[in-house]
């Protein structure tokens, strides 16, 4: 597969995931709607980063740098949730 075809293939995959995202948003899945569409977004981002941003062919340093932002955000969110999920709110 040439490089151009590969890139177009990735684009098609991203579009398909977009369609899936939009489609499943109309299915009544309750709280799983959010989980599904954010997961699909992660897969789209992974495709863009791996192929459009060429992480597939980058060295370890660049890959680590690419991952670190996400990891740090998960840290921020995760530790904050120890607060927000354990608060007792007073009903007004």
């Amino acid at each position: 597969m040439t490089s151009t075809l590969r890139l177009i293939g990735v684009w098609l995959a991203v579009m398909a995931l977009l369609g899936l995202s939009l489609g499943t948003a109309y299915l009544p899945m309750g709280r799983y709607n959010s989980i599904v569409c954010v997961t699909l977004a992660f897969i789209q981002a992974l495709l863009v980063w791996t192929f459009f941003m060429r992480l597939r062919w980058s060295g370890l340093l660049v890959r680590l740098i690419a991952m670190v932002g996400l990891l740090w955000l998960l840290l921020l969110l995760g530790l904050s949730l120890t607060d927000y999920l354990t608060r007792h709110t007073i009903a007004s």
């Binding site: 939009l22 977004a41 941003m53 060295g59 660049v62 690419a66």
Partner: protein, 211 residues
């Protein structure tokens, strides 16, 4: 890219230049910039789930989806443009860069139109706001984050348009060639980040509650 060159790039960090490492570090900082906004959104949504669901249903999912198509395609064209320049196809690269710029500009145009409609529908949580009642506070916060996040994204996109324009001029004038393609590669990386932010903005703003 040839199999040999590809093999050389694989796992060889010596092949990533100083500027590329620097740009990736900048992208990491951009992830933290936008990440903070997503974090604020996430926490506020966790504490106001119903209001966010209700408010999100009032975003224009058609325009949002059109923007997805525009920006995802522009991400393809800029990646192709960088590849073409690397392999010496200068004219193709120029056309692809121009196509990227056009798609980005169309995105912005759609966004402006969308903002216009939002203002007309009193979705701006400042002054006369469309929602009253029990969930209004949360709905205000949803739209506050909506405008801040899409606004920050738009600012980054406008900067990206400036960078792409500079790339178009540079390639046209022969400043960036197959032997000096780094600037275009870095511009493509930046543009892909602008795309990535939108990849996540779309579901959290438009698809919260559609049934």
């Amino acid at each position: 890219m040839s199999a040999g060159a590809e093999a050389m790039r694989r796992g060889a960090s010596a092949n990533d230049s100083d500027s590329e490492v620097g740009l990736w570090l900048f992208l990491a900082s951009e992830v933290m910039f936008f990440g903070l906004l997503f974090y604020g959104y996430a926490i506020t949504r966790i504490t106001h789930p119903l209001a966010f669901a209700e408010a999100s249903a009032h975003t224009d999912v058609l325009l949002g989806t059109i923007n997805c198509v525009l920006i995802f395609t522009s991400s393809l064209t800029v990646a192709l443009a960088a590849r073409c320049l690397r392999t010496g196809a200068r004219r193709a690269s120029l056309r692809l860069l121009a196509a990227t710029w056009t798609l980005g500009f169309l995105f912005l145009a759609v966004k402006c139109y969308e903002y216009d409609v939002d203002v007309a529908n009193h979705l701006v949580p400042w002054g006369r706001f469309a929602f009253h009642g029990g969930l209004a506070a949360g709905e205000r916060m949803f739209f506050f984050m909506y405008f801040v996040m899409t606004g920050a994204h738009a600012v980054h996109l406008i900067v990206g348009l400036g960078i792409l324009a500079a790339m178009v001029v540079g390639v046209a004038r022969g400043r960036y060639t197959e032997h000096n393609s780094e600037a275009v590669e870095l511009a493509a990386l930046y543009w892909a980040l602008v795309d990535t932010v939108w990849i996540f903005l779309y579901p959290v703003l438009y698809l919260v509650h559609r049934p």
